[in-house]
């Protein structure tokens, strides 16, 4: 173990251009508008979260967050609870990829990053939450709001050492509709879905609308938007979104199942049957098969008279 520590220190010592390597776009970034709350006792979690929430436009003080995220027995806060608390206040909590470039890109985009640091060893950790508010590329330093220090300039190599030992955990607190650079569609949709579950679909729908703008070619984003519109009582909007999802992923049995049910509900029984039969074939052997079979039964049971504005089911090509 001591040998490993020496090696790590030596390796860190010979690198002095971490920010440049991480793709820092500007010579210096400092998000001066991010407020500072000096932590009291061990309450770095509430202080860091309050600063992040304030920066995203939520008026909240650390004291109000203590009850939500501070665990007296642990003398600290859990990461999942910080994420949950951000959602309770109507913000989308996105866990960044664990890399310096992801951190730097967010600062370039003007968003502070809530980070977990480990000032101890991997096996004897000393955890701490802080907010990274900028960097100084020429000096190769990160700028932090941390503990009782309003503005700490920490050598990038030193910062990364403490961050790496905490799994490079970094969180951005986003207004629904904001998307971090380098985000993955699946993880963003998943985070938006968690927001919808906590803060309600109305608040999360802008996030789903933004996701289809950011990833227009991903079937998943359109599928998620379809479900979001449905929960907002907009079945025609949902139908359109499921159609877009299918245009990108024709084999998406989940989108086709939902589209078929919507068609059936508004009286387009013929179109619904055509869709659900295709969904049944596409879902064969997958975890969705049982659900699709239930939909087949529901649609097959009939429904109101045919509506007049139904989509025409695709015709088989003439055989002669």
């Amino acid at each position: 173990m001591p040998a490993a520590c020496l090696l790590l220190v030596a390796a860190a010592g010979c690198t002095t251009t971490r920010l440049r390597d991480a793709g820092a776009a500007q010579a210096a970034v400092e998000l001066v508008a991010v407020p500072f709350y000096a932590q009291t006792e061990h309450q770095c979690g509430p202080a860091a979260l309050a600063a992040s929430l304030q920066a995203s436009g939520v008026a909240i003080e650390p004291d109000a967050l203590v009850r939500e995220v501070y665990l007296p027995a642990l003398k600290g806060s859990l990461q999942v609870e910080l994420q949950a608390a951000a959602r309770r206040h109507g913000r989308l909590a996105y866990r960044l990829p664990p890399t310096l470039p992801a951190l730097v890109h967010e600062l370039d985009a003007g968003r502070p990053v809530l980070v977990l640091q480990n000032f101890g060893l991997v096996h004897a950790p000393l955890w701490h939450y802080a907010v990274v508010i900028g960097y100084d590329r020429t000096g190769d330093r990160f700028l932090l709001r941390t503990g009782t220090t309003r503005r700490q300039a920490l050598a990038a190599a030193r910062f990364d050492g403490t961050w790496r030992r905490a799994g490079r955990w970094g969180l951005v607190v986003l207004r629904p509709g904001e998307i971090p650079s380098g985000a993955s569609a699946a993880e963003y949709v998943s985070a938006a879905q968690a927001l919808a579950a906590t803060a309600g679909p109305a608040l999360a729908t802008p996030a789903f609308e933004a996701a289809v703008m950011q990833w227009p070619d991903e079937g998943l984003t359109w599928f998620a938007l379809g479900n979001a519109r449905l929960s907002q009582d907009d079945p025609r909007g949902a139908e359109a979104a499921f159609g877009e999802a299918l245009a990108r992923r024709p084999g998406d049995a989940a989108a086709r199942n939902n589209l078929a049910l919507l068609l059936a509900r508004r009286g387009c029984t013929v179109a619904a049957r055509a869709q659900i039969e295709r969904a049944l074939a596409d879902s064969a052997g997958t975890a969705l098969a049982a659900t699709v079979e239930e939909s087949v039964a529901e649609i097959g049971a009939g429904g109101p008279a045919a509506a007049t504005d139904c989509p025409v089911p695709p015709q088989a090509p003439p055989t002669d």
Binding site: S184, A185, Q193, A224, L230, A254, N257, T291
Partner: protein, 132 residues
């Protein structure tokens, strides 16, 4: 057989049926709909698997695996059998591997460590005792 109910009974029945329909309509509307959560879990798994696949296809990683007597193809096959959460953790580790193959000491140590970690996850060796 009495088929006509008194007026109060019909009125009550009417209220009950209306209330039942009102309560049942939204439920019926969403019955059978497949939620985003269900589909997201599958997509995330596919992305994580792709990341681990990329890692295992790296020349330096393959070299290390072979030195330890493991066929990269076998390792990949084992990776596909991991649970969602194990796969997610493994793919996070893959992200932290030094990206450059410049052969520096730090990079080499990183690769050795990561390969051991991968093998640990895949139950080939048991170095880290991080679970079970």
């Amino acid at each position: 057989m009495k088929t006509r109910h008194s007026v109060p009974v019909r009125a009550v029945a009417g209220v009950v049926v209306t209330a039942f329909l009102a309560a049942a309509l939204p439920l019926k509307a969403y019955a059978g709909m497949i939620g985003t959560d269900t589909v997201v879990q599958q997509s995330t798994r596919a992305e994580n698997l792709a990341r681990v696949r990329t890692l295992l296809s790296r020349e330096d990683v393959q070299h290390r695996l072979q030195m330890l007597g493991v066929e990269p193809a076998d390792a990949l096959q084992r990776a596909t059998a991991l649970s969602d959460s194990d796969l997610a953790q493994l793919s996070t580790k893959a992200d932290q591997l030094p990206a450059g193959g410049d052969g520096g000491l730090f990079a080499l140590l990183g690769v050795v460590f990561l390969v051991l970690l991968v093998l640990d996850y895949l139950d080939v060796v048991n170095v880290f005792h991080h679970r079970r």
